[in-house]
Amino acid sequence: MRKLLTTTAIAAVALMALSGCSTRTDTTSGGSSAAAGFAADSLIGVALPSKTSENWVLAGGLFEDGLKEAGFKGDVQYAGASTTVKDQQDQISAMVTKGAKVIIIGAADGGQLGTQVKAAHDAGAIVIAYDRLILNTEDVDYYVAYDNFKVGELQGQALLDGLAAKKPAGPYNIELFSGSSDDANAPVFFNGAMSVLQPKIDDGTLVVGSGQTDIKQTATAGWKAENAQSRMDSLLTSTYGDKTLDGVLSPNDTLARAIITSVKAAGKAIPVVTGQDSEAESVKSIMAGEQYSTINKDTRVLVAQAIDMAKVLQKGETPEVNDTKSYDNGKKIVPAFLLPPVIVTKDNAAEAYANDPKLSPLTK
């Protein structure tokens, strides 16, 4: 027995010795360590949600090409369709392990990345929230996105314009839709639109037939077309038996098309429907005179802006921001660079998509 113990002890001590000195690193410098800059061929991680919309697929390709062109090593990852949150958490952890210097995150759920973003920050990486803000954490350095409140305002205005063009005087019957309640952008779009629509509702020009004006009532879980479609189906049955529906505020194109499908199925005239994202199907729909408007948030420009930020950080400089007070994530106000969105209707479609190789043929 003693022999056993001694041998084991000796082996243990030998291993301790072999494992050598500690390689423990202390990077508690905290904050963004931008001042130092980093090597020009460093790893830049890009974590995107699942490939559920055209925009994310496009963005991934653009990031891969753009980062390569800028001389960085790019690591672009999508989350799996069924386990987006966990996949994204693990992918961000893997990027930290691999020593990424900048991690650009299009969050699947902006509220559930606190731990991973903190680990990234503690390891000295700079975190840029792309398109969707990361919530309840101090460890997000920059936010780059289109101005989403402005998107909402433009949608609200487009709805008014469309209604005025259709029928010279009110009152108009409308319905409201908003995005998924786990997406921090959804209320921003909705509030932007309501900032334009609410005065008109108050003075009686607009009538929300169902009375559902609260964001909880209008929410579309998971931004899923089927959810918007079934809500529209029920609204048509419950409220628009003999009334006409004049307009629908839809937060994006996928939902706009679902709403139009529902209206068509019910055999009603297509109302004025807003949208966002410039999806190819919706551009076709606009040219065909069904959907009224969409928003052009050119993914190319947004990706280029995020990569530019990485380039500036690489040199050790501070990237430019143009909004330092609007984006409060619950723990801090995140400095943001906001790009201006553009409203697109049938009238200006050809002009708006002139530089887009995929969309411009559709507008001819």
Binding site: K3, S19, S22, T27, S50, G114, A119, T137, S181, D182
Partner: protein, 442 residues
């Protein structure tokens, strides 16, 4: 007996490092695959796989899946399945998060509330399975829908953040105490305790074997076994303790470790544990022998939901918020871990340690592929194939009467000497089979 133990010694004694019995050998096959996968990725990722940071990530990323696997293996041994674990986890998570946000419930109480929710759900599902006799597949399929819906109702399909104290169970680490040694002191202490325990257990086992009058494996086998284990433990300890300052062995890993020890003991050494095997192996025979199969089924289902609620809370703590997507497809990860770990679909066979190793195979695979930058779509395909191949090899081996690669090799040796060896009657090591349950530690 001595004729079997060591006419030639050598290879067959070495085999005893993994204990006796074919089920241990099968577990060794999986353990061997795990080591092979780790080494493969260690090579492919230029040493990132076994780096401190990654190892710490690995534990905190998969601890809750492994906790589910513990409960799931007991459910599967008893001959059932539980599809509701992901939804139960999500439901408990949102209840706990909402309780802390809306009622300002202190977080230790919130954890108790979560476990209580798990027990109630488990009692509900256990009641239907055990006393009404609805197959567990149906009961838990219903549960999958009910508790997912419950999650969305309570949380309004929203993400609900949780306070900092609570996040300790999911993203906390052993704290830094004592003098600066270049390592996390508590992790070092923990490692030394485990290493010490391994040595003590082996010494005690040998002493018991002597007292029982059975012939223990040669001393050198024990020495090699203990040295190997201690070496691995110390290597892991050094890695865990040497992570970035502020990180060390995750709290969720400690919870997992305690649960593994506890449930290994329950399944191997208690009457209840043996009853679970008995009911799953042959329900009628078990009932005729006086096993209360209803009670066993009820408790197994209830236990699963309690562990699911714990896993849900750990995930919420790690994500710093409870969301509507929590727990999606966790049941599949847990079930895959259990089957890779050598459990049988028909029930009666499986071990807690095996399932943990099976879960680790999936975890290391997932993590390694992510480090290599393989997309989530391809990772799913690879995981699916691994599950199929792992279980396929196992089933094929069983039908051939070969428990594993090692079993296959040693069998060739043996057939020269003993044309018909009755392994069930002749215990190959230590205690007689009647004293020692077939599913052995380590």
């Amino acid at each position: 007996m001595s004729a079997d133990t060591s006419p030639r010694g050598g290879f067959r004694d070495l085999k005893k490092i993994f204990g006796a019995g074919s089920s241990n050998l099968r577990q060794f096959g999986i353990l061997f695959s795990l080591i092979a996968i780790i080494l493969l990725f260690q090579f492919l990722t230029d040493g990132l796989t076994l780096s401190s940071g990654n190892l710490i990530n690995l534990v905190s990323q998969y601890s809750y899946i492994l906790i589910l696997a513990i409960g799931m293996v007991m459910v599967i041994i008893a001959g059932h399945i539980d599809l509701s674990v992901g939804s139960v986890a999500a439901f408990a998570g949102i209840v706990v998060a909402t309780a802390m946000q809306e009622w300002n419930l202190p977080w230790p109480l919130a954890i108790l509330l979560g476990l209580a929710v798990g027990s109630l759900i488990g009692a509900w599902q256990g009641f239907w399975v055990a006393y009404i006799g609805v197959p567990a597949f149906i009961v838990t399929l219903a549960g999958m829908l009910i508790w997912r819906g419950g999650n969305q109702v309570i949380g309004n399909a929203n993400t609900v953040p949780v306070p900092d104290g609570f996040t300790t169970i999911g993203s906390g680490y052993l704290p830094e105490v004592g003098p600066y040694t270049g390592y996390n002191n508590l992790t070092l202490v923990l490692g030394l305790i485990i290493a010490g325990a391994v040595v003590l257990v082996e010494v005690r086992a040998r002493r018991v074997q002597k007292i029982m009058g059975s012939e223990p494996a040669p001393l050198w086998v024990s020495v090699i076994k203990v040295t190997l284990l201690v070496a691995v433990i110390i290597y892991a300890t050094v890695l865990f303790a040497g992570g970035r300052v502020g990180t060390s062995f995750p709290v969720s890993g400690i919870i997992l470790g305690v649960l593994v020890l506890f449930y290994s003991f329950i399944t191997r050494n208690t009457i209840f544990g043996r009853h679970v095997y008995a009911v799953g192996g042959n329900k009628l025979a078990a009932e005729l022998s006086g096993v209360k199969s209803r009670r066993v089924n009820f408790l197994v289902m209830m236990n699963m939901s309690i562990l699911a609620s714990l896993a849900g809370m750990i995930f919420v703590a790690r994500s710093v918020a409870s969301g509507p997507q929590d727990g999606l497809s966790w049941e599949l990860d847990a079930i895959a871990a259990v089957f890779i770990g050598g459990a049988a679909v028909s029930g009666g066979i499986g071990t807690v340690t095996g399932s943990i190793i099976g879960g680790l195979v999936m975890a290391v695979l997932n993590n390694g592929l992510q480090l290599l930058g393989v997309g989530a779509d391809r990772v799913q395909i690879i995981k699916g194939l691994v599950l199929l191949i792992a279980v396929g090899v196992d089933v094929w081996n069983k039908s051939q009467g070969r428990p594993s690669l090692i079993g296959f090799l040693t069998r060739k040796n043996k057939t020269d000497e003993f044309p018909s060896e009755p392994p069930a009657v002749v215990p190959t090591s230590g205690t007689p089979a009647s004293v020692r349950p077939p599913d052995n530690p380590s």
